[in-house]
Each structure stands twice: as C-alpha cells, then as structure tokens.
C-alpha cells in the first residue's frame, strides 16, 4: 500500500510537470502570438485555462500522497510551508513554494473576471517563477535516478525555455505597426 502511494505520488508529479509545461507553452503562444485565426486562439485560450485549472487536481493528488505515504517523512505542514520536511527539506521545499504559487495563480485565474486586472496580472506573472521551481523540484527529487523520467523533465525544460524565449522576442503585430506609424511623423 505504502509503495503504491509512493508510485502514485511520483506518477501524479510527472503528469503535473507535463501539464504545467503544456500550460506554460499555451500561455506563451496566447500572450505573444502575432496573428492567429480566431478559432485557433479560442482553442488555445480554452486549453490554457482548463489544463491549468485541471492540473490542480493532479498536484493535490501528488501532494496528498506524498504526505500520506510514510516511506519518506513529509508532514502535512510541508504542503504549504516550505522547508519543513524531514526528507530532503530543500528540494521538497521548492515543491511547496511551487504549490503555493500554483494555488494563488489558479484561484486568481478562476476568478479573473471578478478581480482587478492588476491583481490578476501580478499574481499570474509569478508563473514564470512557478515553472522553473517545479521543474527543479521534480528533477532533483522524483526523476533524477530514472533515465526515462529524467528525459521527460529535460524535455519539459527545453520546450518551456524555447516557449519563454520566443515569448520574450515576440511583439504584438499592431504594436510594431503603431511604432512604425509614429516614426513616420506628421506630414
């Protein structure tokens, strides 16, 4: 039973990592896209929202089983307060930080149309911190001794970094246009 929980915790952890990376990539395409067909944007926006919120279920499963199983000592406090676990406090703590950020991002996004844009945006920007934190946590704890799982983590890292760097250099097509129009000056 205990062993089963341990495997379940690992599996949900890996699934969460893949979902998180997918959500990140979708978010990057959404905010950095130049021009896309309305249907495409709609599918991307929908997937970004529902995968991001759906991921919480897997992460809660991951955290719960990690606490319940007794193979390693991680207490309930470690779900929310970082660096309190008896087992690998530092690396488990990174997971805790990622979990806290995820909860904040998920709650503000679920309520996005009811709260102020500034609050939502401020919290949502923390996703840039959430992703690498979760990945390092996953790499060092769950997957570093398993070649296949390590490959999944590294692939997530590469894909995510490509998406973020694409996002950084992408500008809105209209913004470029506006800039070039302003540069022409008045005649």
């Amino acid at each position: 039973m205990n062993e089963l929980l341990w495997y379940f915790s690992r599996a949900t952890g890996v699934i969460s990592m893949v979902l998180l990376t997918t959500t990140l990539v979708l978010g990057m395409t959404l905010s950095g896209r130049r021009s896309a067909r309305p249907a495409t944007s709609t599918v991307v926006a929908g997937l970004h929202r529902w995968l991001g919120l759906g991921m919480v279920v897997f992460v809660v499963g991951h955290v719960t089983t990690a606490i319940v199983e007794t193979y390693v000592s991680i207490g309930p406090l470690s779900a929310l307060v970082p660096f309190t676990a008896g087992y690998q406090p530092l690396w488990v703590g990174l997971g805790t930080i990622a979990f806290d950020i995820l909860l904040a991002v998920a709650v503000t996004s679920a309520l996005r149309h009811r709260i102020s844009e500034r609050v939502w945006r401020g919290v949502h920007l923390a996703s840039y911190l959430l992703w690498p934190t979760a990945l390092v946590h996953g790499f060092l704890l769950g997957t570093s001794d398993q070649p296949l799982l390590r490959l999944v983590t590294v692939a997530c890292g590469v894909v995510g970094m490509l998406a973020v760097s694409w996002r950084i250099q992408a500008t809105h097509h209209d913004r470029e246009h506006r800039r070039s129009v302003t540069a022409q000056g008045w005649s």
């Binding site: 309305p38 944007s41 709609t42 929908g46």
Partner: protein, 72 residues
C-alpha cells in the same frame, strides 16, 4: 451568481483592453464579426447565455463584459 449575469446574452467590449484575439468572434458568431485587422465589430444580436459566459472568461485581454439586450 446574480441572475442578471446568467441571463446576459450580449457582451460589451472594452476597446482599449482588446488585443484582437478574436475569441469573442469564434464563440459569439451572431453578435461579433471581426474587422480586417481582427478587432471585433459588435452587432445588435443575441448569443446563448452560456456562450457569453464562456467568452467573458476566455477573452485573453479580459476585454469582455456581459451585458443585456437593451429594452425595446
């Protein structure tokens, strides 16, 4: 959720916030078409309230608000 929200069959667009993703046009084909730059043109027509709700949640720029058809 207040009743007025659920019954909203139209949207109002915040033109300053809108970034022209066109999600609204895909979800609310009756009242929204896109101009040649991809920005919404709103017509006086109703779409199902569930679609209005979905569009308000999914607009990437949060530029949509539910609104009700004006009284005749």
């Amino acid at each position: 959720m207040p009743a007025s929200r659920e019954q909203a069959t139209r949207v109002a667009v915040d033109r300053v916030a809108c970034t022209g993703h066109g999600v609204c046009a895909a979800l609310l084909p009756r009242q929204i078409t896109l101009d040649e730059w991809g920005y919404p043109i709103v017509a006086a027509a109703d779409d199902p309230a569930v679609d209005v709700e979905a569009a308000v949640r999914l607009c990437p720029a949060r530029a949509l608000r539910p609104s009700r058809a004006p009284r005749q």
